[in-house]
């Protein structure tokens, strides 16, 4: 019924369309459109100062909506986990919020915040920890009070430490359920090595060793005013907020020795193919990787342009070749992955049906090779540079973005004008630069390739790509001698 009706409608439409076309005014081809110059962007300037207790603060007013949001960065991270208690910092960050304060339990704080539709959250990253808050303007006094109490007076109640650790155990048991997750995790382990938090897995035995004393000790070592930067934006007056913060944090004055530098990354190239077998998938998830660099690298802008040509967005070479022309993948891309403070990882990531595993990986590697053997075309270079330069305004389209960028730059010791310098350098990148940086920074002989899939259905063996080593996905149980924390 529906199909027949559709046919008639379609037939009529063809008739009407031909009539309609004759009547319409002509429109220009897109190449002939002229664009007015873009309006000047108003880039707000956050107010920066230090509280009497040594905490640095950035404030930025934004009166569009009656909201106030904040983010504190604490100079610590998973990188400071003890090697026999991997995961300690993350447990600490979780229980900082859930474990309550000396006067309220975490459950009471949950209710109090949600009653006013507000939030306070704590989290741990590799090289920064954060505590954030969000609330409606009218309740900001309450929200700031809770935010301060969570940051300065955590109780780390044992029952919440137990809950977090028990959930982390369950998380470990589930870590091999998602094939893409396995590929991400294993390429990091291979590129960084398993003896540091960039590359290691947290195991059941680590969690079983974590005690409340460890959690408290970690907190006290890193959560002190001079080690924290706080950024707040929203609907407030800067002068009032300054006063409010000064009063709020006046009684919090602990001191600690300066936090040492994060441990450096040592490059340990591990070329070859690493296979994780997973029988219950119809696709192979793969990742080809190398250690990359930091954003400070003078070649970083040229590398970003190179990556745009190779693997970012729908117009990249990887997308055009492996998705559009070969039809071998839905998802395929590459990124340089530069980090602020340590070498990140360059990766080509994709997935393809099991029988075309080797074909897709070889095709991806061939595209990488091409980037090192010949200059990109003038058109490719222009598209890549235009994409960066014409979208530059989106870095400034909300005060929140500006503030969070300034906060990151200050946290990692980057100049405030870093982004503008980057823009200038991108504009100056040449085809020869792209070729040079690809040759200098990408050595395919060192490429590590991880494939997660079902080798019984691979069309061609992976040995055609390189020496194949199997990845052991088994999850080590808690040693019998160690009673699980419960």
């Amino acid at each position: 019924m529906t199909r027949r009706a559709g046919f008639i409608a379609g037939f009529l439409a063809v008739l009407l369309a031909s009539v309609g076309l004759a009547q319409t005014q002509t429109v220009p081809p897109y190449q002939q459109l002229a664009y007015p110059p873009l309006k000047q962007v108003k880039i707000p300037d956050p107010v920066s100062f230090m509280l009497k207790n040594g905490m640095r603060v950035l404030l930025l007013e934004d009166h569009e909506l009656p909201l106030i949001n904040g983010l504190a960065l604490i100079r610590t991270g998973n990188l400071f986990d003890p090697p026999d208690k991997r995961g300690l910092s993350s447990v600490m960050a979780d229980v900082l919020r859930s474990g309550g304060t000396s006067v309220k339990t975490g459950d009471q704080i949950d209710e109090e915040l949600e009653n006013i539709a507000a939030s306070v959250e704590s989290s741990m990253g590799e090289s920064s920890a954060s505590i954030s808050f969000s609330g409606l303007k009218e309740t900001s006094g309450t929200v700031l009070g809770i935010f301060k109490a969570v940051m300065t007076d955590p109780a780390f109640r044992q029952e919440k430490i137990d809950l977090t650790i028990s959930q982390a155990h369950s998380g470990i048991d589930r870590r091999n359920d998602d094939p893409q997750g396995i590929a991400e995790r294993e390429i990091a382990s291979i590129l960084y090595g398993r003896d540091n938090s960039y590359g290691w897995n947290i195991e059941h035995a680590d969690l079983a060793r974590i005690r409340r004393d460890d959690v408290q000790e970690f907190y006290h070592r890193y959560y002190f005013p001079r080690n924290i930067m706080l950024a707040i934006y929203g609907d407030f007056s800067t002068a009032d907020m300054k006063d409010q913060l000064e009063k709020l944090f006046a009684d919090w004055t602990p001191e600690q020795p300066p936090v040492p530098a994060f441990p450096p990354v040592t490059a340990k190239p591990a070329p070859g193919v690493f296979l994780a077998e997973k029988a219950d998938v119809t696709q192979t998830f793969f990742s080809l990787g190398l250690l990359s660099g930091t954003l400070r690298d003078p070649d970083y802008p040229a590398l970003e342009v190179a990556m745009d040509v190779l693997g970012s967005g729908f117009t990249s070479r990887l997308m055009s070749q492996i998705r559009t022309k070969m039809g071998l993948a839905y998802s395929i891309g590459a990124g340089w992955g530069a980090a602020y403070d340590h070498p990140g990882t360059f990766r080509i990531v994709g997935s393809t049906k099991s029988p075309s595993t080797a074909d897709a990986i070889l095709a991806a590697r061939a595209e990488l090779e091409k980037m090192r053997t010949a200059e990109v075309s003038e058109e490719e270079l222009k598209t890549a540079k235009d994409a960066v330069l014409n979208s530059f305004v989106f870095f400034f389209d909300s005060p929140a973005k500006t503030l969070s960028r300034v906060l990151r730059y200050q946290y990692f010791g980057y100049p405030n004008d870093f982004l503008f310098e980057y823009q200038k350098k991108v504009a100056a990148v040449t085809r020869a630069d792209v070729l040079r940086v690809m040759r200098q920074h990408v050595n395919p002989a060192n490429l590590s390739i991880v494939a997660v899939g079902n080798p019984a259905e691979f069309g061609k063996p992976l040995t055609g790509i390189g020496k194949v080593e199997k990845i052991d996905l088994s999850i080590p149980p808690i040693p019998a001698a160690m009673a699980p924390v419960k």
Binding site: D107, I116, S166, S170, G327, A387
Partner: protein, 505 residues
């Protein structure tokens, strides 16, 4: 508890319903609507904070409209909408068109031979298949790859993508505000004159998408099994991605027919939010979108799901850790009970104060994660109110399911206290305010509310409906809809541990 309710009363006025009305009033000034003669509707939202604009095209077509035997066709068309036009994406359109038509002629011969079934000649099939591959290669020679995407990206387009759901298909991206005219040109052209080039390569891409999203994920497989089991007759039975064999058999004319039937101007709503002048938007809309020709709206009738008369079960054998979904039949989003169901959902699982989180994750610790969703997989037609659980290590699906049943019994028989009800309503209101600071979010939300409720203002006025929901209403809808006979229980189990399968029943 009473004490907490009192504290709530002291919370300032912004959270009161009256203030939401004021917020709506001030928002009204930023919104301009107009409809072109061909039926296309535009919603323009002015936000001049930064020189950027977000665009959203909401097409009132989804996988529920897929023809029989062609599940996933709405999604396939969405992919083709990025392939360009007779002037974008080709090096020589007349030659390309001829080559594309030649592909169809060879494909027709291939199908004709295959349709002979047991009488088909394998040698002929092989020969025509080779011919087909050669014909496709010839057509592909005229393609200017991904030109449509390249124009958008090189002009600073951000977050360009599209999505196909059960109820709708959405296309969206953002431009610097001096490029507004380019969006009008590109967006109108792709829906005026789409060219389905590289159709069969893209079909392979879509097939890979299904392998990635559904076939290689135990939760993906479970959700597919849930829908296929819960809906016997209504097209919510099928996932938006479609079944593998249907995807593999799409033909280009199928997608063209689908486009002509459903991509009619009156079925499309466009949202534009950001640094834009409504006058200029209207002028450009007339110039570019005025080219689309009015056509009759497609039928909205879809097979009505009959009453479910007993509990159903769906299982997926998988080595992955267990996952459980329990889904109850519920009415569509226009039901007078829709607001009460939304409040029930929030009471059960919003934030850290939801009943399910507190009971199963925090206190009893039998689940790593658990929650509910009021409307799955869509809301245009009667759908599902579902619960999901990822059991903690050492705890079974059965144990979790029993606890969920106990909680459901509790909300049916014990009235939700005032503090909880107020908290949920406050969060729903604050959630609205938090939605108002994103161009992309606004463009999308206003289109969606306009299409589904007839007026974008419903985004604000639905808060009044939430506000009217009483504790009795919450208990009543729980009793009406969370009924065992109308539910489907879907769970994964590890195949070589047969006892688990029994256990979860």
């Amino acid at each position: 508890m009473k004490f907490r309710a009192l504290i709530f009363l002291l919370i300032p006025s912004l959270l009161a319903a009256q203030s939401v009305a004021e917020l709506q009033k001030s928002f009204e000034k930023k919104v301009t609507e107009f409809t072109l003669a061909n039926g296309l509707h535009f919603i323009v939202i002015e936000r001049h904070e930064a020189p950027v604009v977000s665009f959203h095209t909401y097409v009132n077509v989804g996988s529920v409209d897929d023809p029989g035997g062609q599940t996933g066709l709405a999604h396939m068309f969405e992919h083709m909408a990025f392939k360009g036009t007779p002037t974008i994406g080709t090096t020589n359109w007349p030659a390309e068109k001829a080559a594309m038509d030649a592909v169809e002629q060879v494909y027709d011969r291939l199908d004709a031979e295959r349709n002979k079934g047991p009488h088909a000649d394998p040698k002929k099939i092989e020969a025509i298949s080779n011919e087909l591959a050669a014909a496709m290669e010839k057509a592909d020679n005229y393609v200017e790859p991904n030109e449509y995407d390249r124009v958008v990206e090189s002009n600073g387009g951000q977050d360009m993508n599209a999505s196909t759901a059960e109820d709708s298909t959405n296309y969206f991206y953002s431009f610097p505000s001096n490029r507004i005219e380019l969006w009008f040109l590109l967006e109108s052209s792709r829906f005026l004159n789409p060219v389905f080039r590289e159709f069969y390569k893209e079909r392979d891409v879509v097939r890979e998408e299904r392998r990635m999203r559904t076939e290689s994920s135990s939760q993906g497989k479970l959700i597919e099994a849930l829908s296929a089991t819960a809906f016997a007759a209504h097209p919510y039975h099928n996932e938006a991605i479609g079944w593998a064999s249907d995807i593999e058999h799409f033909r280009r004319p199928d997608a063209e027919r689908f486009y002509k039937q459903y991509y009619v101007p009156a079925n499309i709503t466009l949202g534009i939010a950001g640094d834009v002048s409504p006058m200029e938007a209207r002028r450009l809309a007339e110039k570019y979108f005025g080219r689309l020709v009015a056509r009759p709206l497609p039928s909205q009738y879809r097979t009505v799901e009959p009453l479910q008369e007993g509990e159903k079960t769906a299982t997926i054998a998988s080595p992955a850790q267990p996952f459980v979904i329990i889904a109850y039949k519920r009415p569509d989003r226009h039901s007078p009970d829709a607001a009460a169901l939304a409040v029930l959902d929030a009471v059960l699982s919003d934030g850290r104060t939801g009943i399910i989180y507190k009971d199963m994750v925090r206190d009893k610790q039998i689940a790593l994660g658990a929650g509910s969703a009021a409307e799955f997989p869509g809301g245009k037609y009667p759908s599902l109110f579902l619960f999901y659980v990822a059991p903690s290590s050492g705890h079974t699906s059965e144990e979790n399911q029993k606890e969920l049943d106990r909680i459901i019994q509790q909300v049916k028989t014990t009235k939700v206290d005032d503090a909880t009800l107020q908290r949920v309503k406050t969060k729903l209101r604050a959630g609205l305010i938090r939605k108002l600071d994103s161009n992309a979010g606004l463009a999308s939300e206003l289109c969606s509310y306009y299409v589904n409720y007839g007026d974008w203002r419903k985004l604000f006025t639905e808060l009044d409906e939430y506000n009217k929901v009483t504790a009795d209403d919450v208990a009543r809808v729980a009793n009406t809809y969370l009924v065992k006979e109308h539910r489907t229980v879907a769970y994964t189990y590890v195949p070589d541990a047969g006892s688990q399968k029994e256990g979860a029943k």
